[in-house]
């Protein structure tokens, strides 16, 4: 009987694990829904910011602001700042591994001609970067699950300050693009200096139906500007940067939850199969026991009679 008892214990423990993975799957699914809807909600803001930017640009003046223009040659520092967005917790499939791998590739490429410093968001990325001995200048771990723009302010302020102080030539961000619940791809984008084409891509990728409207609108409107135009552009630039980082964080969050959901779904399925296998083994062992007992009894009977 020793065998059956152990098998029973194993079945029980696998069942418990399955309950946990199932629960995690459901939690991740609902979190993912929230993250996706947050991503869509920020779309409108992005569109309007873009519109204002283009109207300012159309009004003749070139936009002159440090956040918009490339670093001049003589001021080049050959240093790059990279924001790496990962999760705080594991158990989410290849989510973290993918984006970290992409980052390391980039660092290898850049390393020939530039120094890369890193800001990490999320513990997993932080641990990975410190392990390979990268220069981590700041780490953010305590971002809440339902992210609001004010949580991003601290990151964007830091980034903008560093950029304006001319410590870095450009600021990149490594995040995971949420394509669908099943596909997420790690991606690296430039945040600063704000490149107009990238921004346009961002807005386009966000709004499928509306973007055409925005783009077709080529008629010039003579805007009246109240207040200092440069200040306006400056604060617009800051807000755009912040919004971009916010957007990337939301994308990454949605990706994290969906890849966790898929991982947990697989785990639940695997544990179901395991339970089936173990039950079969258990039944076989029980049957073997019964057969043995019967044969022992009948052998005893035969010897008595």
């Amino acid at each position: 009987m020793a065998g059956t008892k152990e098998i029973k214990r194993r079945i029980k423990s696998v069942k418990n694990t399955k309950k946990i993975t199932k629960a995690m799957e459901l939690v991740a699914a609902s979190k993912m829904k929230r993250a996706v809807s947050a991503t869509l909600a920020s779309r409108l803001y992005a569109e309007y910011s873009w519109e204002i930017l283009t109207s300012i640009a159309k009004n003749g003046d070139r936009i002159m602001h440090p956040l918009f223009s490339d670093r001049e040659k003589e001021k080049m520092t050959n240093k790059t700042l990279l924001i790496l967005i990962t999760s705080n917790r594991g158990l989410c499939g290849a989510y973290n591994a993918q984006v970290i791998k992409k980052t390391l590739q980039l660092i290898k490429q850049e390393n020939k001609n530039a120094n890369v410093s890193i800001i990490t968001v999320g513990k997993k990325g932080d641990v990975a970067m410190r392990r390979v001995g990268q220069n981590v200048v700041a780490s953010f771990f305590e971002l809440p699950n339902n992210l609001s723009i004010r949580d991003v302010t601290q990151i964007s302020k830091l980034v903008i300050n560093e950029y304006i102080l001319e410590n870095y030539d450009k600021v990149l961000i490594a995040y995971t693009d949420f394509i669908s619940a099943l596909t997420q791809t790690p991606n690296i984008k430039q945040v600063l200096p704000i490149s107009k084409s990238e921004l346009k891509n961002l807005v386009e990728s966000l709004g499928e139906q509306k973007d055409q409207m925005v783009l077709q609108k080529d008629q010039k409107i003579d805007y009246l500007f109240e207040g200092n135009k440069n200040e306006l552009i400056g604060s617009l630039a800051e807000k755009l940067t912040r919004m971009q980082i916010y957007q990337m964080l939301l994308e990454s969050n949605a990706s994290e939850q969906s890849s966790r959901m898929v991982a947990m779904k697989n785990a639940s399925e695997a544990s179901g199969e395991m339970i089936d296998d173990l039950t079969l083994v258990f039944n076989k062992a029980r049957q073997a026991n019964i057969t043995r007992e019967i044969s022992e009894i009948s052998a005893g009977m035969a010897s008595v009679s």
């Binding site: 803001y45 910011s49 723009i149």
Partner: protein, 148 residues
């Protein structure tokens, strides 16, 4: 029917309000302005305070903090006012509890401010302004009538 204008208030988190209104008063960086239908296109900064829209004689107040205002004529020739705020909330949503919370938070932050370094300062400053604006606007509208 008298001409109306379209008011849209968006924050990075959500679309707070989209409505046809008769007129709207907004706090800009240079002082308060009121936009009526057929206003000329305008781009300006938004400071913190309250946006008050007038709909059929009812006031619709919103507490806002920082951002931009864009006034333009859209395709149908309707005046459209787009407000991009960092934060916006209908005054009706500012319940007593929330105000108390905001007040205590503002106080806490003020204390924290004293022993924080410069890096955190701006973050706290923004938070403080948000909390204070909420308190101020809620106090202002407490006794007045407005549409929920």
């Amino acid at each position: 029917m008298a001409k109306q204008l379209k008011l849209k208030i968006v924050t990075p988190e959500r679309l707070v309000l989209e409505e046809l209104v008769d007129q709207v008063s907004l706090p800009t960086t240079l002082g308060e302005i009121t936009v009526l239908p057929e206003h000329i296109p305008l781009i300006t900064g938004l400071s913190s305070g309250d946006i008050v829209a007038l709909v059929h004689g009812d006031h619709v107040p919103m507490a806002v903090v920082g951002g931009f205002i864009e006034v333009k004529n859209n395709f149908e020739g309707m005046t459209e006012v787009a407000v991009m705020a960092d934060f916006a909330e209908h005054v009706g949503e500012l319940t007593e509890e929330k105000i108390e919370e905001a007040k205590t938070r503002a106080e806490e932050m003020r204390k924290k401010l004293e022993n924080k370094e410069i890096v955190d300062f701006e973050h706290f400053e923004a938070e403080l302004e948000r909390s204070l604006t909420r308190v101020k606007i809620a106090d202002k509208w407490r006794t007045k009538k407005y549409r929920k």
